[in-house]
């Protein structure tokens, strides 16, 4: 039987990023994989080595942080495919990174936020300033919200797991007039939604779970389609092909887009979002798909402050 | 109480045994105290007095023996039981919380203070009681800010207010000025008058003769003798305690004072001076005075533990006022601090380590950049022999020695360096007559080798015994200096009491 394992950088119950990693792993079971995971592993190199030695054909690391250790371990296990989830580097022959195009979705959220804001002030809360996929989403958000005429403020917090701190950050932004909040956090994402709920402003989340907290205020979620991204990869690995590259999914790689805006199952937006706005966002997606629209946020776009 | 039977004694202790490892601190001691009696408990250092009283008060458990108060056996072995039975104790080291005020210390653990503290009421009671016993005390003062004499008043008030039937005082006079001693003895008499019993531990025979009704002498953990006070002389008591003569030493001077070795000019700092004085080689300058009049400031400034605000300290012509402690030691200055528990010794370190405390960077203790453990042990053994430090060996922690032997470590270390100047502060504090005599003899021996000596003590007799000249400190300065010794007692008394705190 084929085996796949994942290393989670945090705790699988963070109700966000690591929980997603856990879900990814589970999504491989229907593809015929026996699975294992390990959380908070203090010894990533050793863990990778251990799983590879146990005969796991796919060993995933659920963060860009694992690429480094993978590059060290991979040469000793040429038959194992190492995959860094949301990394952005690969190394031939068997270390690859997969991610989705944070910039495209960040941009859509920016346009949505600007359209839904009455104060024309919108804001985002993120962690780990300078990490590429954070820069992509935060920068995409700023570029497109600003283009739609909103004033944008971005805050970074110390710990993507600290919901109380995220909530404080969101409350401070709301206090300064922002009435649509977004962000890319892990366990802390809940804090954003709680703050929005308390102050009755719109917010975007990272999963249906968060829609349930405040159904009338969550506009949409970026729901990541790791099963989709992994599906083809895993099947190919099973077939004996190894990758050593960075694969980024997005609207331009349809049908697998890597992520999707979803309010609830099969429903992209909260009913409060006017049809015209939905149409504009769909047009945007089409633009990304056709290549007519391109976006490449820089660190300056993702800067903190306004 | 029926007339037919003699009333049970206030306290009876029978067959008390307390062992510390192999040491039998108490080895079958019987003790009886009657109501309205002051019992003097005597014995040389380490004879087991404090241990016996700690057993009585429940501070430490006994290995064997029985304790009865008014014929009723003590229920348990904790201080709370002893206090319930009407026993109060003033410990050799005070049991006060320094960071708290007097009234808080009095209320601590006292049910009458109320679950919700009745602060004002207690303060009033303290004022009232301190008037009654002539012990002036501000209930709101912080204990840390009080001189030792005042702290002792707090301890006494605690006992008095709780209406203790039996009061135990473990060396209460060691740190008191003569006036304060007289006051304390007055308080004890008053308590006796009220029908209370008192156990009074002291090394000072005149106090015993003055106030006690009866004495019990311990030696080596056993009762060596007991007598009504009228039936003994001080010399007999001393004989009973140590089995030899312990009168003041008369070490014949082998040479006259020489050149000036220590010259202090305009020395001043907070609570000190300005002071100007000289001490010659082979001369002892005794400094008397009530504690808290600048003695600690003077000795610590001389020793380098406090910075002088102004003035100079020249030793053999070398200016040391701004030199470090280490430089002063190198220049030949020795210092015996009063506070041997915290400063003079590191009680948890071995005897050997304590002997090298101030000389660890020099031969024989150091060899190049390293210590020489072998030589340390050898040297320590030699010093223990020379200075009669009684302990199983040089590796024993200093804390396990009796007070007298601990002090001998300090003496050995400071004198063995053959210093040019010795600054000694309360050098015989808490020592029995034998040990006191030993220390004084050694200091005089150093004098005869030509060292300059500054001998500071609140014990006037001791100062008079040893000094060539006596200065009396008051308010940080010298109230007067005399070379007349006892002949000038009247003036000295005036100087001391004139500005006594």
């Amino acid at each position: 039987q084929d085996k796949a394992a994942i290393l989670l950088p945090g705790s699988a119950n963070d109700q966000s990023w690591n929980a997603l990693g856990y879900a990814i792993l589970k999504s491989l079971e229907p593809h015929g994989f026996k699975t294992a995971y390990s959380e908070n592993d203090a010894d990533e190199g050793e863990a990778l080595r251990d799983y590879a030695a146990q005969g796991y054909g796919i060993v995933m690391g659920h963060s860009g942080r694992f690429v480094s250790a993978m590059e060290q371990v991979a040469p000793d296990f040429p038959k194992t495919q190492f995959i860094a989830v949301s990394g952005n580097e690969g190394k031939a022959p068997n270390v690859m990174s997969i991610d989705w195009n944070n910039a495209q979705f960040g941009c859509q959220l920016g346009a949505l936020a600007a359209a839904m804001s009455k104060t024309h002030k919108v804001a985002g809360v993120y962690g780990l300033q300078g990490v590429p996929n954070i820069t992509a989403q935060a920068g995409g958000f700023r570029i497109c919200a600003a283009k739609a005429g909103a004033a944008v403020t971005i805050l970074y917090i110390k710990d993507m797991e600290d919901a109380a701190e995220a909530k404080e950050a969101a409350l401070s932004l709301i206090g300064q007039g922002a009435d649509v909040i977004t962000g890319k956090l892990n366990a802390a994402e809940t804090g954003l939604v709680q703050a929005a709920k308390e102050k009755h402003v719109y917010v975007t989340g990272r999963g249906f779970d968060q829609t349930k907290i405040a159904p009338d205020l969550v506009l949409t979620n970026i729901v990541e389609d790791w099963p989709g991204m992994f599906g083809s990869t895993a099947d190919q690995v099973k077939a004996g092909k190894l990758f050593g590259s960075f694969v980024q999914y997005g609207y331009d790689t349809a049908p697998v887009t890597g992520a999707a805006l979803q309010y609830a199952e099969g429903k992209p937006f909260n009913p409060v979002v006017p049809a015209a706005v939905v149409k504009a966002l769909d047009d945007m997606a089409a633009g990304f798909k056709s290549g007519a629209l391109k976006i490449a946020p820089t660190d300056a776009d993702a800067r903190s402050g306004s | 109480m029926t007339a037919a039977r003699a009333p049970a004694p206030l306290l009876s202790m029978t067959g008390i045994v307390r062992r510390y490892g192999t040491v039998r601190a108490n080895d079958g001691i019987d003790l009886i105290v009657q109501t309205g009696e002051i019992l003097g408990l005597l014995g040389e250092n380490g004879s087991g007095k404090s241990t016996l009283m700690k057993v009585l008060f429940g501070m430490t458990p006994a290995d064997a023996g029985e304790i009865a108060v008014r014929g009723r056996a003590l229920a348990g072995h904790r201080p709370s039981d002893a206090m319930a039975a009407g026993i109060a104790m003033i410990h050799q080291h005070f049991m006060l919380v320094e960071a708290m005020t007097v009234v808080e210390n009095v209320m601590l653990g006292w049910p009458a203070a109320g679950r919700v503290l009745r602060r004002a009421e207690m303060a009033a009671r303290i004022r009232e009681a301190s008037r009654r016993f002539g012990l002036d005390l501000d209930p709101e003062a912080r204990v840390a800010d009080l001189p030792l004499g005042r702290r002792q008043r707090v301890e006494i008030l605690k006992a008095v207010l709780r209406e203790a039937e039996l009061l135990v005082l473990d060396e209460p006079t060691s740190n008191l000025a003569p006036v304060e001693v007289a006051e304390l003895l007055g308080v004890l008499r008053r308590l006796r008058g009220e029908g209370k019993g008192v156990v009074f531990i002291t090394h000072k025979l005149p106090e015993v003769m003055e106030v006690c009704d009866r004495v019990v002498v311990l030696r080596g953990g056993r009762v060596a003798g007991a007598a009504p006070i009228a039936a003994v002389t001080p010399a007999e008591l001393a004989e009973m305690m140590v089995g030899r003569d312990v009168t003041a030493p008369h070490v014949a001077r082998t040479r006259p004072p020489g050149e000036v070795r220590l010259a202090v000019a305009g020395l001043a700092g907070p609570g000190l001076g300005p002071l100007t004085f000289e001490v010659r080689g082979g001369e002892v300058l005794g400094i008397a005075g009530v504690d808290g009049n600048g003695q600690i400031e003077l000795v610590e400034t001389l020793a380098g533990l406090r910075r002088a605000a102004a003035g100079s300290i020249a030793l053999d012509g070398r200016e040391l006022a701004s030199a470090s402690v280490a430089a002063r030691v190198r220049a030949g200055m020795a210092y015996m601090p009063a506070d041997r528990a915290a400063t003079g010794l590191v009680r948890s370190l071995s005897i050997a380590d304590n002997l090298m405390l101030r000389d660890s960077t020099r031969p024989p203790y150091a060899r190049g950049a390293f210590l020489a453990p072998g030589r340390l042990q050898a040297r320590a053994r030699a010093l223990m022999r020379d200075y009669d430090i009684r302990a199983p060996g040089p590796r024993v922690p200093a804390a396990r020695l009796s007070g007298g032997n601990q002090q001998k470590i300090v003496v050995a270390r400071e004198l063995d360096r053959r210093p040019a100047l010795l600054v000694a502060h309360q050098a015989a504090w808490g020592l029995d007559p034998g040990a006191t005599r030993f220390v004084l003899e050694r200091v005089l021996g150093l004098r005869d080798e030509g060292a300059a000596i500054v001998y500071v003590s609140s014990e006037l007799d001791e100062v008079l015994d040893i000094a060539d000249r006596v200065a009396v400190m008051a308010d940080g300065g010298f109230a007067g200096v005399t070379a007349q010794g006892r002949a000038d007692l009247a003036r000295i008394g005036l100087w001391m009491s004139g500005r006594a705190a």
Partner: protein
């Protein structure tokens, strides 16, 4: 400004509970390095208790119990067995972090990670007072545990200063031998103080999980126990001063978020140092006056 103060109060609330607990422990002579673990245990128990019983009251009770249990572990090892306070506290923190995370999976998730969702405790406006402009929303429209924190602060202040038990506790931290000689039992006092410390700090954890975010996530206290420790030292072990110190920490953090939002040309990492640097600057400004309880960290004789 009001917004900043409101944020400061929110951030300060969990810190204050922990700091009050720490004051109990340190005043009794036991270093309160285990606050982090006690808070975390409280946060966990509050969430899981509320989730299991559907009643926040039970959650709060369980938070008290779990905090106290952590305190008991520290007390047994550090007080009864005289291990070092500092290391016992640090180790307890490690253990509680593991245990909460493990129990969450085992008790609630059947070995799987699980998400607990609770509605955060709503504010309790005090009728009449809550409508006062400015002060009303700031002080009289707060969630229940915040009122409790203010009450606990005053109660602890009175307890320490005005009662025999408080006097006894302080004496244990200053000179346990003196208390023993006065008929007290320093061992019992210390054990009780540390257990109480755990219970109160546990409430601080409950504030986080129950009142602020409505869920428990692993390690959600995120170092707040250590910040509480810093606050109580800044506050010189006085409850009212601890409230001020926690508010100051809260204000510093709230300020940091607003500073970032104002677009200073610094990276977020540099700006996030602000609360710690401000704390250091305040401490340095206060200078040498800090005097630890004299017998803190020392084993009983």
């Amino acid at each position: 400004m009001i917004d900043l103060l409101a944020a400061a109060i929110r951030i300060a609330t969990p810190l204050l509970f922990a700091a009050l607990g720490g004051i109990l422990s340190e005043r009794a002579g036991v270093f309160a390095v285990g606050l982090e673990g006690m808070m975390l245990a409280g946060a966990f128990a509050a969430a899981i208790g509320t989730w299991a019983s559907a009643s926040a009251a039970w959650g709060i009770v369980l938070a008290l119990v779990a905090g106290a249990a952590t305190g008991l572990v520290v007390a047994v090892v550090a007080v009864r067995y005289r291990a070092d306070h500092m290391v016992t506290g640090l180790t307890a923190n490690i253990m509680v972090a593991g245990l909460t995370s493990y129990l969450l999976r085992v008790l609630a998730g059947g070995g799987r990670p699980v998400a607990i969702r609770l509605a955060p405790l709503a504010p309790w406006p005090i009728p009449g007072l809550a409508d006062i402009p400015v002060l009303g929303p700031l002080l009289f429209d707060l969630p229940p545990l915040t009122y409790l924190a203010i009450f606990a602060c005053l109660a602890l202040h009175l307890f320490l200063g005005r009662t025999q038990a408080g006097l006894t506790l302080r004496a244990t931290g200053e000179n346990p031998e003196a208390l023993f000689a006065a008929g007290g039992d320093p061992l019992r006092v210390r054990v009780r103080a540390v257990v109480a410390c755990g219970a109160v700090a546990g409430l601080g954890g409950a504030v986080l999980s129950l009142q602020q975010v409505g869920t428990f996530t692993d390690g959600m206290t995120g170092g707040r126990g250590y910040l509480a420790l810093a606050s109580l030292i800044v506050a010189r072990w006085s409850p009212p001063a601890a409230a001020l110190a926690c508010l100051a920490f809260g204000a510093a953090q709230a300020f940091e978020l607003r500073l970032q939002g104002s677009g200073v040309p610094l990276s977020s990492y540099a700006v996030e140092m602000a609360p710690y640097l401000i704390a250091l600057a305040v401490l340095a400004g206060l200078g040498r006056s800090a005097r630890l309880p004299a017998a803190i960290g020392q084993p009983l004789p």
